[in-house]
Symmetry: C2
Subunit: 242 residues, 2 copies
C-alpha cells in the first residue's frame, strides 16, 4: 500500500508521499510516488500515486512523455493545458485509459488493477488547485471546508489532520502536520514505509519551493517522531479520565 | 460500521464498543454491541460484535438462549464451558453456523453477510483470556506482545493504543486510552457513533467490575475529548519540525 497526503492552504500546498511498494509481504521495494512537472514562473504541478505500480508507472510515463514532447499541444501536455481543471481532466483520462487496458489483460486471470492520484498545482494568474483522481478518471477537489486529500492507507493519519489543519495553517505547521500524520501511519501499518518525499508549492511561486527526500536514517525526522510520542504520552498522563 | 476495542492487561480487561448500526447512510440506528455473561465468583465473559446485525443478533440470541437453558451442558452453554478456550470455540462454531445459514439465504441476491466478535473472560482459577473470532469461526488471541484486539473501524484509533498500551498499563489509564481511541474514531468516521458501552473485568474478580453507558451528552466524556484536542494542539505547536 501507500500513504500520500496533500494540503491546500492559503499560503501554499504541502505534499508528502511514502515510497513503499509491495507485491505480497515477501516482495517489498522502494519506488518514488511523487512526480513534479514545472515550467518555472508559468506553472508547477505535483502528482502523487497510490495503487497498482503497473498502472501508475504507465500513466505517469505517458503524462511525462507528452509533457516533454515539444509537439504535444494543450490537449495532450499537462504543461500546456489551459487550466488546472484541464490538467485534472487530462490526468483522469490517461489514468482511466491505462486502468482499462491493464484490467483487460488481468481479467483473463480474474484479477484487477487500479490506482488513484493526487494532482496539485497552479498556473500563473490562477488559483492553486488540488484534485483526487479516481481509477475511473473522475475526480474531487480540495476546498476550504476540506483542505486536504489523502490516498492509500489514509485512516491512521486522519485524526491529526482533522484536529490541526485549517486553510490558515502556516506552511511550517503544515509540513509538521503531514509528517506527524505519516508518522502515525508508519507506526501502525507495515505496508507504508520510509523514505518519504516532501514537496511544497508556495502560493504564486510557480515552482517547487522545497523538495526533500527524508531517509529512514534522518535524525530530524527521528527526533520529531520521538518528541511527538513523548508529547502524546505526557498529554495522555495529564488528561483526566471519564 | 462499528468500533470495538478490548485490552488485556495484567490488572484486568477493559472493553469498549460504540452502538451505531447503519443500513446505508439514511438508515442509522442504535444497537447494543456489548453483551455480558456472568456467574458471579465463577466466571465473567464479555462479547462485543461487529458486522451484519442479522448475523450478530442471531448468534448472540443462540448463545444467550443456551446460557440461560438449565439443561444446556458444558458443550452448549458458555457459562458451563470448561475453559475460555472452549468458550471461544463454542462462540466461533455458533458464529460460523449463523454466517453460513444467512449467507446461503443472501447468495440468491448475490449478497453476503458476515461478522466478527471479541470474546473476553475469565473462569475461576484460570487466566483471563481475550479472543477475536472471525466470521469463519477461527480465532486469534491477545497476548503480552499484542495486548489489545479491535474489530470494525480499527485504524483511526490504533495509533494511540500503539503508543500508550502495555500489559502493565493501569485500569484507569486503560479506560482513558480506549475512550481516546474511540474519540479519534468518532471524529473521523461517521459510521461509528455514541453512546458507548464500557466494561471492566478485574483480574480474579469474576464479575463485571464496572459497566457504564456513556451518552452523547456525557459532560465528562465531552470534557476529556476537548482536553485531548487541546493537548494535541499544544503538543503539536511545541514540537520542532524537520
Amino acid at each position: 500500500m501507500t500513504y500520500c497526503v496533500g494540503l491546500l492552504l492559503k499560503a501554499g500546498m504541502v505534499l508528502l508521499s511514502d515510497t513503499r511498494t509491495n507485491a505480497g509481504l515477501d516482495n517489498i521495494a522502494t519506488y518514488r510516488k511523487m512526480f513534479t512537472f514545472v515550467t518555472p514562473g508559468e506553472r508547477a504541478i505535483v502528482i502523487m500515486t497510490a495503487g497498482s505500480l503497473s498502472v501508475t508507472q504507465t500513466a505517469l510515463a505517458r503524462l511525462s512523455e507528452a509533457a516533454e514532447d515539444p509537439d504535444a499541444d494543450e490537449t495532450r501536455s499537462i504543461l500546456r493545458a489551459p487550466s488546472m481543471l484541464a490538467v485534472a481532466e487530462m490526468v483522469g483520462a490517461t489514468l482511466a485509459d491505462v486502468t482499462a487496458e491493464i484490467s483487460e489483460k488481468m481479467e483473463r486471470m480474474h484479477q484487477s488493477a487500479s490506482a488513484s492520484l493526487i494532482v496539485a498545482g497552479q498556473r500563473k494568474g490562477r488559483p492553486m488547485r488540488m484534485f483526487l483522481v479516481y481509477p475511473e478518471g473522475n475526480f474531487i477537489e480540495a476546498t476550504e471546508d476540506t483542505p486536504y486529500l489523502q490516498i492509500g492507507e489514509h485512516k491512521y493519519g486522519k485524526p491529526i489532520l482533522d484536529r490541526v489543519i485549517t486553510p490558515e495553517t502556516t506552511l511550517a505547521d503544515a509540513e509538521k502536520a503531514v509528517l506527524l500524520s505519516m508518522d502515525s501511519t508508519l507506526r501502525s501499518n507495515l505496508s507504508v514505509g520510509m523514505p518519504l518525499d516532501l514537496a511544497v508549492i508556495e502560493e504564486g511561486g510557480l515552482e517547487i519551493a522545497r523538495r526533500r527526500r527524508i531517509e529512514a536514517s534522518d535524525p530530524h525526522f527521528a527526533r520529531m517522531s520521538h518528541a511527538w510520542s513523548d508529547a502524546l504520552r505526557d498529554a495522555f498522563q495529564k488528561i483526566e479520565g471519564v
